[in-house]
Symmetry: none
Subunit: 139 residues, 4 copies
Amino acid sequence: MNVLNKLGISDELADMLISEAVKKAKELGVKVSIAIVDEGGELKAFKRMDGAPILTIEIAIDKAWTAVSFGIPTHEWYNMLKDNPPLAMGFPKIPRLIIFGGGFPIVYKGQVIGGIGISGGSAEQDMEIAKNALKKLES
Amino acid sequence: MNVLNKLGISDELADMLISEAVKKAKELGVKVSIAIVDEGGELKAFKRMDGAPILTIEIAIDKAWTAVSFGIPTHEWYNMLKDNPPLAMGFPKIPRLIIFGGGFPIVYKGQVIGGIGISGGSAEQDMEIAKNALKKLES
Amino acid sequence: MNVLNKLGISDELADMLISEAVKKAKELGVKVSIAIVDEGGELKAFKRMDGAPILTIEIAIDKAWTAVSFGIPTHEWYNMLKDNPPLAMGFPKIPRLIIFGGGFPIVYKGQVIGGIGISGGSAEQDMEIAKNALKKLES
Amino acid sequence: MNVLNKLGISDELADMLISEAVKKAKELGVKVSIAIVDEGGELKAFKRMDGAPILTIEIAIDKAWTAVSFGIPTHEWYNMLKDNPPLAMGFPKIPRLIIFGGGFPIVYKGQVIGGIGISGGSAEQDMEIAKNALKKLES
């Protein structure tokens, strides 16, 4: 019988991504929340750095969920929506869907195995922090 | 072991802020709801003045929560969003986030120790009422 | 045209009830949240005493709401439910309905004009605090 | 002006509690989720061990929240409820309130500074894992 083979986020990988993200956030001088979800969108690991605002909890988790939920980085949503009025009017209200930067799918051997979400800096800083953590995975 | 030192809203402080807000609202001739939350965003004290509409309950509480949740006054959100289309499209739908004036963090010795939210007047009146109450804290 | 004449909770009455409740809670040595709602169940005034747990916020508000929602004290629900299995199975899950002591309708000249909810002590203490505040209204 | 002095969970403390919990869970041969919340009940850090079921995510977080929300371990709720029918019928439905073992307040110098919740083993195993982590804090 045919079954699917999936790859998933391990404790080791989640720890590495979070510690890389914290390192980069400290370099940038921002206090962020970092969420790692598995390929089903369920929380695997989370850290809110000392002093990061509470609003960042929900946004970081939802960015990670959004990235996994469609397999694309959260900042790509705006480009897909902006010239299509029905989508632009309808998509932003979908619960948990975050359409600005800071959420990325975690891709390994061509498979989406999870998502990472960062919140607390500007969208650009959040993206830089996430990309820096993911770079470690590629190497 | 390392722990964080925080300051929080006392009964005395909450009472003072509400009575100052009521006094100012009466001066301006508006009927408002006033919400005080602690630094975790949880309700500490609330008053809806006689005749203030029921819609003001939720908005006042959510303004206070919003102010604490990111550590900035609610009226600053619009300026952060207006020239950034993805943020402008994405942020307003975040549950409880109020992006117009009337919510302020309560800051004491450089720490956010809570939030105040006013609803019932125009955004400008709500802001004036909140700022007037907070001025008392500074003195 | 026939319209209804209603009586409602005033600022003055809400303040009196809250300060009587605080006084009694201090006498009993408990830290409670006190919620006052109007005859429509909407929040009129609220205070969480210094040190009262955050769980008491929601329970106090819901007790006040429950008291107004059917016009009876919250502790009477259990007696109405206990010998009637379908009610006992079905009522407790109704959102916001609290079936233990500490919520009372505020009755004036035979009309329910609001509700008071206390949470933080035992059910008996919460009831005593509420009843003591309401006694003041009768006098 | 009177303000409250509070203590809070630091990154360092949250990391220590999670790594102690993971160590004990491995010793016991169970796969658990571990949640750490601050004194306002907001998520500070989280880990779901490899292979821990997804139901454990919400339960661990809600156990930690419950412990903070009333300042007592989650397993004490059952004893408070079991001989009091109205409470027994009414409390279990309160959203997020978990009334079985595995959630503990994190107490430091007599203050509740946060909560820890464990889910994935039996209630007894979850409690053992949490208590073992907290023992480290006392020493």
